[in-house]
């Protein structure tokens, strides 16, 4: 029996669904997850494609370890981003990746555009598009509640209205059955909305024995036992309460918490939002299917509750706009989840708008800490009402409109997340060279356990290594929350390579990292073809200014030194393009 590892190609324009195999030489070079997203985008989406056109495609891939080993529950979703115009991949947990695997699929490619609002339904008995006009306008929670008994991937009103930072949401329900997931960054929800695709619902049916795997079951069992020990001893303690909430105290103490649009690094009410603060209102945990870690938290206070919140949300839609009490942070989080908007971008946009109001540039009822004002603002964005229509375009385009670029904190159009790089300078390089724009996950440089010289050379090498390593891990698709908790990330990665090899692959650690190197250079090539070169690998003006409270800044000449070295170590030319020789050496070009 051949292994079930197919792609379902969905043509919304022609209402057709077809299955296809992944060519062996593609799987060998790109494996799964991010690798396949990047490969198919390179092959099938022309440069400068309008992200809202039917020619843009939505790629969704799980990885070879999904459902075979515990914790590989994330799905890699990619498209040309309407926010940045670049390659964009975003990752969501929940049940979707596993259910898709249990339906026999490694991936889904969505192309074209439907005339009417539709949903894609995948079960044992049905693979088809179903009419979903009755779900138009529904929130992510309403859609999740509507489709009981399925894994539900959906957009909210924000995605339908093409808000450029609308996300894709998985398993959002008023009473979640498992930890929900959000692919927030880059506006992929708006791509889905542009295609009139409201949701994808999947109910898998296969067991492990049905997948046609050639697997060493005894070795698998041993590896699972070893992995569970590592999860218990290292990852669970590192996660603490969960949802990355423990990071808040560390960011505040290090003065790198974004406050008032990155003008300050801490505020005086920060202790309410630390792990200890959230622990007071903790009501339970939940987890993704197959994962024993249970890093999702359920919180309730003053009649507000949430089952989906993370550090970034607390920092960006809380501290950054001086909303500093937990019930209101939860309230705004739930508003954004329901509307289907990325909380990192939303908080960044809200802070930008508030600063414009403060400076007399924008006439809108909004001020720092104004919870009702932010609720109104987020609704205005989601429904594109009044000035909401301008801010729905994201902070970069809004800055164009108001001629206010000096206050806009983004890179390549992607709003910066909740770590001020003027305090952790490696993040400046990480943000500027991330393939999807200002992103903190491609390379998280602040590694606590490594003893290193604070040298520019070592830091640049670290950024490159992390970008390559993470690109490789996202082929599997490994969960960042778990990798971030490994006491020895290299040992953890090697354990994953062992898992891969039980499926008949032949990787060692170096070859696996090289896979990531290949993928990262491919996404750079895609971006080059979309006109992204050195002139876009830049920091927002604010990061070159002395911060109001500490005087920290990144001098342009210092950033240039970092970037020059980065290009040199990457083997890119002075414009920031991989050379043809490098692309051939990596097997991207023949």
């Amino acid at each position: 029996m051949a292994e079930y590892k197919k792609i379902l190609r969905v043509d919304l324009s022609n209402n057709t669904l077809e299955e296809e195999d992944i060519p062996p030489n593609v799987e060998e070079r790109y494996l799964g997850g991010k690798g396949l997203v990047a490969y198919y985008m390179y092959e099938e989406v022309k440069p400068r494609t309008d992200p809202y056109s039917p020619e843009n495609k939505l790629f969704m891939f799980n990885g070879p370890l999904a459902f075979v080993y515990p914790t590989f529950t994330k799905i890699s979703i990619g498209a040309k981003s309407p926010l940045t115009g670049t390659f964009c991949d975003s990752y969501a947990a929940g049940s979707f990746a596993v259910e898709l695997r249990r339906a026999g699929y490694t991936g889904i490619i969505v192309e074209g555009k439907s005339d009417k609002m539709v949903c894609l339904k995948i079960t044992r008995d049905e693979k088809r598009l179903i009419e979903c006009e009755s779900l138009r306008g529904k929130t992510t929670y309403e859609v999740g509640d509507y489709f009981t008994g399925y894994s539900v991937l959906t957009i909210g009103p924000g995605g339908e209205n093409l808000v450029r930072f609308a996300g894709i949401f998985i398993d959002m329900r008023s009473r979640p059955l498992n930890r929900p997931g959000i692919a927030g960054r880059g506006g992929l929800g708006a791509v889905m909305g542009s295609k009139n695709l409201k949701a994808i619902i999947v109910r898998g049916w296969m067991g492990l024995g049905d997948l046609g795997l050639k697997i060493d079951l005894e070795k698998r069992s041993q590896l699972i036992n070893r992995y569970v020990e590592v999860l218990k001893k290292e990852v669970v303690p590192a996660i603490g309460l969960g949802s990355n909430l423990p990071v808040f105290k560390l960011s505040a103490e290090a003065r790198i918490l974004p406050v008032k649009n990155f003008r300050l690094g801490v505020h005086d009410k920060w202790e309410e939002l630390t792990e200890d603060g959230w622990r007071k209102i903790f009501v339970g945990r939940h987890t993704c299917p197959t994962c024993p870690v249970a890093c999702g938290v359920k919180l309730r206070e003053a009649r507000r509750e949430t089952a989906k919140i993370e550090y970034e949300t607390v920092a960006m839609t809380g501290s950054n706009v001086l909303v500093v009490d937990r019930p209101h942070v939860i309230e705004l989080d739930e508003v954004l989840n329901a509307l289907g908007l990325d909380t990192i971008s939303a908080g960044n946009v809200a802070a930008f708008a508030t600063e414009l109001v403060e400076r007399g540039i924008l006439d809108y009822p909004l001020k720092w800490g104004d919870v009702e004002g932010y609720k109104r603002f987020y609704h205005d964005i989601a429904y594109r009402r009044g000035v909401g229509d301008i801010f729905a375009e994201g902070v970069a385009r809004a800055a164009d409109h108001f001629n206010a670029h000096e206050y806009a904190v983004h890179i390549k159009g992607l709003e910066i997340p909740a770590y001020d790089p003027r305090g952790v300078v490696g993040m400046a390089l990480a943000y500027a060279t991330a393939d999807r724009g200002g992103d903190h996950l491609r390379a998280w440089t602040v590694v606590t356990e490594i003893s290193m010289r604070p040298s520019l050379e070592d830091l640049v090498k670290l950024v490159i290594h992390l970008q390559n390593r993470n690109a490789a891990l996202w082929t599997l698709v490994a969960c960042d929350n778990i990798v971030g908790g490994f006491a020895d990330p290299e040992a953890g990665t090697k354990l994953y390579v062992e898992m891969l090899n039980t499926l008949g692959y032949d990787y060692d650690y170096e070859r696996f990292i090289r896979l990531g190197d290949r993928i990262y250079n491919l996404t750079r090539l895609i971006n080059n073809m979309d006109g992204i070169y050195r002139d876009r690998d830049i920091l927002p003006p604010r990061f070159h200014e002395k911060r109001e409270d500490t005087g920290w800044r990144i001098a342009p000449e210092d950033f240039k030194r970092m970037l020059d070295l980065y290009y040199r170590y990457r083997g890119w030319d002075e414009k920031g393009a991989p050379t043809e020789r490098l692309l051939k050496d990596l097997g991207i070009l023949s």
């Binding site: 990355n244 560390l250 290193m452 908790g485 920290w552």
Partner: protein
């Protein structure tokens, strides 16, 4: 030269103070020597900062000197101005 060191978070708790004051003169005012002096005076910081063979090693902390990250400095160069050194505590994780 006057040297003010500001500690944050767990580092402040370890040493028991937020602000440290030191000074240096003439050829003592080289960064690696300044950090040797800091660690000698406040050995509680040894888990986070070490100077070995004129090289400064850090464990997870971020060091900012007069608003600019330490890695942009030549640690062998003689400093000719007063220094404000911010030592940020370790940060990890995050999404």
């Amino acid at each position: 030269m006057k040297i003010i060191v500001k500690l944050y978070g767990v580092l402040r708790d370890l040493v028991g103070r937020e602000i440290l004051e030191l000074s240096c003169e003439y050829d003592e005012c080289v960064l690696y020597k300044i950090f040797e002096k800091i660690v000698q005076t406040y050995p509680e910081l040894k888990n986070y900062i070490n100077v070995v063979n004129k090289e400064i090693y850090v464990r997870g902390v971020s060091i900012i000197i007069n608003g600019r990250h330490i890695m942009f400095y030549d640690i062998n160069e003689i400093i000719k101005e007063d220094l404000l050194i911010d030592i940020l505590p370790p940060v990890s994780g995050g999404s």
